[in-house]
Structures are given as C-alpha cells and as structure tokens.
C-alpha cells in the first residue's frame, strides 16, 4: 500500500536546556493502516500528535502527509490542509455545546461548502453507523459520555479525512462505551479505509490497531505488529511488552 504519512528524523525541543520531547523520530504510515501510539506520560506522544497535525512545528526533521511537506504550511494553508486532510478525536470529546449533535457533525462539511441536502444525508448515514441516529437533535449535555465520543468520532470521520488522529479517545469512557467506540473506529478503518493514528495508554484500546509504536523519552523504542488479525493474541503480546517495559524502568 502507498505511504500516506512519512516522518523523517522529527525532533522537537521546547527549551534549549531540556532534553528533546521528540528525538529524531522516523516512521511511515501506509494508507488504510490503524496505528496505535503508546508510552508513559511525557514520552512524546502528544507532541508527536501536535506536530503531525500541523498544530505545532518540529524543531528539526520533515513530515509528509499525502506528499505534502508540512514544513511548507503556514497559517491559512495549514488550516486548509487540516480542513481537507485531517480529522480529530479527543479524550474530552470537545463537542460544541451550543450545537445539536446533527449540527456538530455537519460543521466540517459546511467548511467544505457541500450542499445542505448532501450534508444531511451524509450525517444521517454516519450517525446510523455509529448508533447515534436517534440523538441527532439533542445537545451534547443531554448525551452519555459514550454517545458523545461516538458523535465526536462521527464528526471526525464524516469528511473522510486522509488520516484520523485520536488522542486517548477512550480515556474518559466506561469499558462498554470504550468497546463500542473502538469497534466503530475499527469499522471505519476497515469499511471506509480511514487511516487512523491513535494515542492511548490502554493496552486493550491499542489492541484494535494493526501496528503499535511504543515511545519512551521521545524515541520509538519498540514496534509491534498484529499477525493473523487476532485481536486477543495481539492484546496479550501488547500486555506482555508493556509489563516487560515496566520492569525495565
């Protein structure tokens, strides 16, 4: 499969005296992959997500998404790039409280200037896929955490981004809501071929990915790949790896 994202020796240093938050990180992501990023707090996961998503700029190194070097993007062009290529899901959902769920999911499509009828039909079909069709006219504070996060995921996926960044999406959810969300993401990955890059602390959530990059002190220290599409087996190998890393600390 073609390479969608390429990171080459990406370094991020916030203050001169401090050690780098990202230290010459290089990796590739192919189209349609579901990547998990794991690591302890302060290992550089969030910094990586920020520089990959044009929110922050690396001190050194290059990143290409869809063949575009992110270094060339500034202000308005970065915004346009995010509009056309990237989707986001956050731990805190970040739905707009004043908008209904229907309106929340519609926002990225209005930004692409799609006609209202098309927007409505796209929102409805995705809401059905994510099991929130009956909640469309409600406001975020009328929904459960799981429903909100699914709405947030629907909002990220509805515009069919080249790549979806998920920052600990299950962090605030109970186990059944988390499972529902992960299945929804997996479905989006398999059926809509959405490329996903998910940061998580949770080995169970990570086991839904096809490949996992484990970070420590701003570097990738281990890469795990799922074999034979067996999530349970993959979960166990992730757990084993994490506990091995824990004992090495």
């Amino acid at each position: 499969m073609a390479t969608l994202l390429k990171a080459k020796e990406v370094t991020k240093i916030y203050a001169k005296a401090q050690r780098p938050s990202l230290n010459k990180v290089s990796f590739d992501v192919s189209e349609g992959e579901f990547i998990g990023i794991m690591g302890a707090s302060g290992s550089g996961k969030t910094t990586l997500l920020n520089v990959l998503s044009t929110i922050d700029t690396p001190t050194d190194g290059d990143i290409w998404i869809n063949g575009v070097n992110l270094r060339q993007l500034r202000g308005a062009s970065a915004a346009d790039f995010r509009r056309d290529n990237l989707g986001f899901i956050f731990q805190e959902y970040f739905l707009l409280d004043s908008l209904t769920i229907q309106e929340n999911i519609s926002v990225p499509l209005t930004l692409q200037k799609l006609p209202p009828k098309k927007i409505e039909s796209m929102v409805r079909s995705l809401a059905e896929q994510f099991g929130i069709a009956s909640q469309l006219n409600k406001y975020p504070n009328e929904l459960s955490g799981g429903q909100r996060q699914r709405a947030s995921a629907a909002r990220a996926i509805v515009k069919k981004p080249s790549i979806l960044f998920a920052d600990q999406p299950t962090g605030a959810l109970d186990s059944s809501s988390a499972t529902e969300l992960l299945h929804a993401l997996q479905e989006a990955n398999q059926e809509l071929h959405t490329t996903i890059l998910m940061v998580t602390h949770d080995s169970y959530a990570a086991s839904f990915a096809s490949r996992i990059l484990i970070f420590k002190d701003g570097r990738i220290i281990k890469e795990l790949c799922k074999r034979k599409d067996d999530r349970r087996e993959f979960y166990e190998s992730v757990m084993a790896e994490i506990s091995r890393l824990d004992t090495e600390r």
Binding site: S53, I55, G75, A76, A79, D80, F81, R82, R83, D84, L86, F88, F90, E92, F94, L96, D97, S98, L99, T100, E103, S106, V107, P108, L109, T110, L111, K113, L114, P115, P116, K117, I119, E120, Y139, N141
Partner: protein, 670 residues
C-alpha cells in the same frame, strides 16, 4: 505563610490584563463622580451660572441618580468577577479556607482595586473639573477668579472617599451573601453547571413582536394631530402606555422572539449550512439563555441613554434654531421717537462703518379683514391668556408690509435662498407669514381675505404661506406681505401702526457691548430684539442643564460599553476550547475572527438598534407633543439628534473594536 493580603496582591498581579479594564472602568466612574461632586461644591461657578438655586437643586437630583448608578454598576461588575472566580474559590474551600477567610481575601482585592481607581479618579476628576470650568467660562463669557477654585476640593474628596467606602461595604455584603448561599459543590462545579434548556414558546415570542410594533405604532399616531390617541386620551396616559408597551415588548422580544426567530430561520438550510452560520446562530440562542437579562438591561439602558441625549440635543438646539424666527435681524427695534433713529445709528457707527451695516426701516400698516376663516395669527395676543406679555395686548388685524420691503429685509438677513424661491406677487395676492404650521396640517393658501383699507375693501388671495418672518414677533405678528401697489394704497390712506428699524451686518454679531448700549438708549424697550444676544442668553440658561445631564449620559455610556465588553470577553473566554476545536478542524484564523466578530456584533447590535429606534420614536413624540413648532418639520432640526446618534455609534464602535480585539487575543493566543 502567605497571608490574605499577599494572596490578594498576587492575584491582582497575575490577572492584571483581566483586571485592567475593570480598574479603568471603575476609575472612569470615579472620575465622573468626583468631577461632578467638585462641580456641585464649586460655589464660585454655581453662583455665576444661576442665582435662583435652580442648578443646586438639579445637582442634588443628579447626584442621587449618579450614586444609585455607581452602586449598581460597581456591584454588577463585582458580581461578574466573582462568578468568573468561583472555581478558584472552590479550590480555596477544598484547601480548607473558611468562608470568612475567603470573604476577607475578596475584600482586600476590592479595596486594592478601588484604592487604585480612586487615586486615578481623583487626579483625572480634578483635571476634568478644571477643564469644564474653563470651558464654561469661555462659552458663557464669565469672569471667574481661578485662584478661588482649588485644584483639589477637600470636601469633595472626603465626600467621594466616603461614598466609595460605602460602595465597598455594599460589595462586601453582596459577596458575603454569595459565599453564604453557595455550597462547596456549587463553588467547584459552578462554571460547569449545564445551561437550562431553552423552550421556544410562540405566545411570548409573538407578543414581544406585537408589543414593540404596537408601541412604535402608538408613537407614530401622534402625527395624526388632534385626532390622535394622544390628544383623545391625554398625552401622559398614552405616553405611559407607549413606554410600557415598548419596555415589556423589549423584554419579550429579546427573551423569546429573537431565539424563536433564529430557531425558525435555521429551517432555511441553504443559509444555515455555511461554515460561520452553523456556529454563530446556535451560539446566539445558547447565549441568550444565560444572558437575556443582561441584554435586556443593556438595551433599556442604551435606549434611555440615547433618548435622553437626543431629546436633550433637540431641546438645546431648538430654541437656538428658533432664534432665526424670534429675532430674524441681528438687531431690531420699534421706532417710538424719531430721535431714536439717529441716536442708534450714531451708536452703531462706533462699532462698524456704514458699508458694513444695513439699516432697513419698515412701516407696518394694520388692517382689519373679513373672511370665512381668519388665521390664528390674525387675533393672537389680543386677549389675556394667550398673550406672552399680558401688559401689552395687541388689537386684531393683519400687519402689512410690502413685497419689496420683504425682499430687502430677507437680503439684509442673508436669506438669499428664500428670496430665490419667492413667487412673483400680483396685486390681488398676498403672502401670509405663519407663527407656526397649523396643528391639523391645513394651509391657508388659496384663502381670500377682504382687507378693509380705510373703508375700501380689497380682496387678496393667499398665494403662499411662509415661516420666514422678516420681522420679530415682538414687533409684528400676523404679518401679511402685499404687493407694492396695494401697500402704496395703504400708505396714502393710513398711518403706520409701527415703524421698525432692522439692523444687519456680520460685524455686529456677538457684540454684547453694542446690545447693552442700545438697550440703555432705548430705555429697556420690550420691542428691542437681538439675534446673537438671544443665542447667548439661551446658552447661559441651558448650558448647566446640558452639562449636568451630560455627566449622566457619559456614565451610562461607560457602563453599557464596559458591561458589553466584560460579558463578551467572558463568554468567549469560557468557550475557548470551542475555538481550539474549530482551529483543529481547519477553520483559518481569519474565519475564527469572523465568527468572533459576528458573535460579538450581535450583542452590540441589539442594544444599539433598539436604543436607536426607541430614541427616534421618543424624539418624535417629544418634538410633536411637547415642543412648540415654530420651525415646522425642518429636517435640519434633527441634525443634533443625528449627531447624538452618530456619537453613540462611535462610542459603541470603539467598545466593539476593543472587545473583538480582546476576544481574538484570548482565543488565538497560543
């Protein structure tokens, strides 16, 4: 161990940008208050400006209004800042602070802010007071011994400090009440508490709309003159009804109609599904839920401010504009003794050479007339009760001058434009000078008057009526301009009723010395009129009123502007996460700024537009119902109202730009 005082200082230091506007606005309010207090305690000026104690009593009334207003404004902003800090207070509570400790922390902060504002307010207030005193002395030509007016009036300082202490005390009480009422849970979760769901109710929405339309309709009804509801039911009851309709209408309109209208307009999918409207429209409905009360208060406040300023501008300007009718010539007097003419010409020549001045003598002939309907001017002032000066009653009749004299006077008065518009007058025609337009809108044009010129009946048809009287009302009322040949007939058979000398010339304007000298020479004649003198007199009489109400208006503006600022900045700061998310979704900085501008604009627009409409209707009612109509419905009369509105718009615009700037800085600052 940090004590309360040092925590308070640290808090203020760390949140300086947030507090700076609060500090500035409180300093502003104190400046105005101190300026006013210094002014009202300035015996030297008050005695110069009025001798009857009118200004003193007005000062007392306004100072009460000011005090109420300052207390209201400062407790509003205090409450506002308290709400913004509930989470912080929650943390103190979790750390084990007692409520009394928190209260003393808040009190320390308040004392610090108020002391800073007080120091600034006293200095700026003293400067402003001096500037106002200087302005008035120049404007009214007063001679004031400046050394008698201290820069700092100690009594005024003591008074201001006492008052600010009282305000701080009120704020402490209100903070204590807030702290006592809220539980720890309230404090910790206060900011996160979910908004109430807004119900879209049709009946209040519709009644809001209907009330407002009804109120404005009732205001416009005053144009129907004698048939209007205002005349049938009385001015004050109808005024009260209009006021109530508009006030309640505004409440329902903002509370129910606006959110309802926005909700309905969301049905128009084509316009709703755009990248900015999908954010701004729901956001407006959402914000109305928690801000309706503030918005209503601001709307009513700006309606009051604008109405007061435009009515005041009108009532200040109207008498000055009306001077052109009360005293059309620069100087004018009735010749009661032949010697007066040479005397006065001699006096004038001391101030101006002959080629700079025109003397126009007019002989006025009084004739009686018959007609189906004689105009009100024919008999006005002939009986006690309708005459301005009941000692000098006039006899009924038309006071006739010739067409060529009329033109000569208009030219001397520099009214070339009026001369150009004049019709050619045939021998059987006349022009009637009106005192004021008829209340029912009728006009005498076409009416035939049978003039009795010493037994000869001459029929004249009114070919035009005019408000451009060439001679003051003191010397001629019911003036009829007749052709030169009819005037010749009168001259042959009648003796003039009055002879009037009009003196014009730019050089004579604003010459109070000449006026006084002439007044003396004419023995205080009630028939002596001076244009510039009259304007000066009106300025002296009204400037204090204007100034005092000006204090109130400025204060209202500061309050409205600052409340709008605080409200918007806080709403946008609270939803900072929303803008971050928009940024990540691909909204450019430009688009986010556009959204912020739109959201802020709505909140500025509503109070301003309502204020504007309310003040326009209030001005119309005031002008039509309560003011004399000497000048007819000239558009130029509304110029001061327009200036007042333009100034208000400018102040709103400045506050709006300031607010948008702060909001953008808060949201886009990474």
């Amino acid at each position: 161990m940090m004590n309360n005082f040092s925590i308070a200082v640290k808090n203020l230091k760390n949140n300086f940008s947030f507090y700076s506007l609060y500090l500035v606005s409180v300093a502003f309010v104190i400046t105005i208050y101190f300026t006013f207090t210094s002014f009202s305690m300035n015996r030297v000026m008050l005695e110069k400006m009025s001798s009857d104690g009118r200004i003193e009593s007005m000062c007392r009334v306004i100072s009460v209004c000011l005090m109420i207003f300052v207390v209201f404004y400062m407790s509003y902003s205090n409450r506002f800042f308290l709400r913004r800090r509930t989470k912080e207070l929650g943390i103190y509570a979790l750390l084990g602070y007692r409520k009394s400790t928190m209260l003393s922390l808040l009190t320390f902060e308040n004392i610090l802010v108020c002391s800073g504002a007080l120091a600034a307010g006293l200095v700026f207030g003293a400067i402003l007071h001096k500037a106002i005193v200087y302005g008035i002395t120049v404007l009214l030509n007063l001679t004031v011994d400046n050394s008698q007016i201290p820069f700092f009036n100690l009594k005024a300082i003591a008074d201001t400090i006492r008052f600010i202490l009282l305000v701080v005390f009120v704020m402490v009480l209100s903070n204590a009440r807030f702290l006592l009422k809220s539980s720890l849970m309230d404090l910790v979760r206060f900011e996160k508490s979910a908004e109430k769901k807004l119900k879209f109710r049709k009946i209040p929405a519709l009644s809001g709309f209907l009330f407002i339309i009804g109120g404005y309709g009732l205001a416009l009804d005053i144009f129907r003159g004698t048939h209007s509801i205002w005349m049938t039911f009385g001015f004050y009851p109808t005024g009260l009804l209009t006021f109530l309709l508009i006030a309640f209408g505004t409440v329902f309109f903002i509370n129910s109609f606006l959110p309802f209208a926005v909700q309905v307009s969301k049905q128009n999918k084509k316009s709703f599904y755009t990248d900015t409207k999908i954010i701004t429209m729901p956001n407006f409905v959402y914000r109305i839920r928690s801000n309706a009360r503030t918005l209503i208060m601001l709307t009513l406040l700006s309606a009051a401010t604008l109405s007061i300023s435009s009515v005041m501008a009108l009532s200040m300007y109207y008498p000055i504009a009306a001077v052109s009718r009360m005293a059309p010539s620069e100087l004018e007097f009735r010749i009661e003794k032949e010697s007066q003419v040479d005397n006065i010409k001699g006096l004038v020549s001391e101030y101006a050479s002959a080629d700079q001045v025109t003397f126009t003598q007019t002989d006025i002939f009084k004739v009686t007339a018959e007609a189906d309907h004689l105009p009100m001017e024919y008999s006005v002032g002939t009986s006690k009760g309708d005459a301005d000066n009941e000692n000098i009653l006039r006899t009924a009749g038309f006071e006739c001058i010739s067409y060529s004299q009329y033109i000569a006077l208009l030219q001397a008065q520099n009214k070339e434009a009026v001369v150009k518009q004049l019709p050619v007058l045939n021998n059987d025609e006349c022009i009637l000078v009106k005192y004021q337009p008829n209340a029912d809108g009728s006009d005498e044009t076409g009416t035939v008057y049978q003039l009795d010129i010493n037994g000869n009946i001459t029929s004249l048809t009114v070919c035009e009526t005019t408000l451009n009287n060439p001679i003051s009302f003191a010397n001629s009322i019911g003036t009829l301009i007749v052709s030169d040949s009819v005037y010749g007939q009168m001259k042959e058979s009648l003796t003039p009723e009055n002879r009037v000398l009009s003196i014009n010339g730019k050089i004579l304007e604003k010459n109070e010395d000449l006026y006084e000298a002439m007044k003396q020479a004419l023995g205080d004649s009630p028939y002596f009129q001076g244009n510039s003198h009259r304007v000066h007199e009106i300025f002296s009489l009204n400037s204090s009123t204007f100034l005092l109400i000006g204090f109130l208006v400025v204060l209202f503006f500061i309050a409205t502007g600052s409340i709008l600022y605080f409200n918007n900045v806080s709403a946008i700061t609270d939803s900072r996460a929303d803008y971050e998310i928009l940024d990540k979704m691909g909204y450019s900085e430009k688009k986010i700024k556009k959204i912020i501008r739109k959201q802020t604009r709505t909140f500025f627009f509503i109070p301003f537009c309502f204020g504007l409409l309310d003040s326009l209707f209030a001005t119309i009612v005031y002008k039509t119902g309560l003011m004399q109509n000497l000048l007819g419905n000239r558009l130029s009369l509304y110029v001061p109202t327009l200036i007042a509105i333009a100034l208000t718009a400018l102040i709103y615009l400045i506050y709006y730009q300031l607010t948008v700037h702060s909001c953008c800085k808060t949201v886009l600052h990474r």
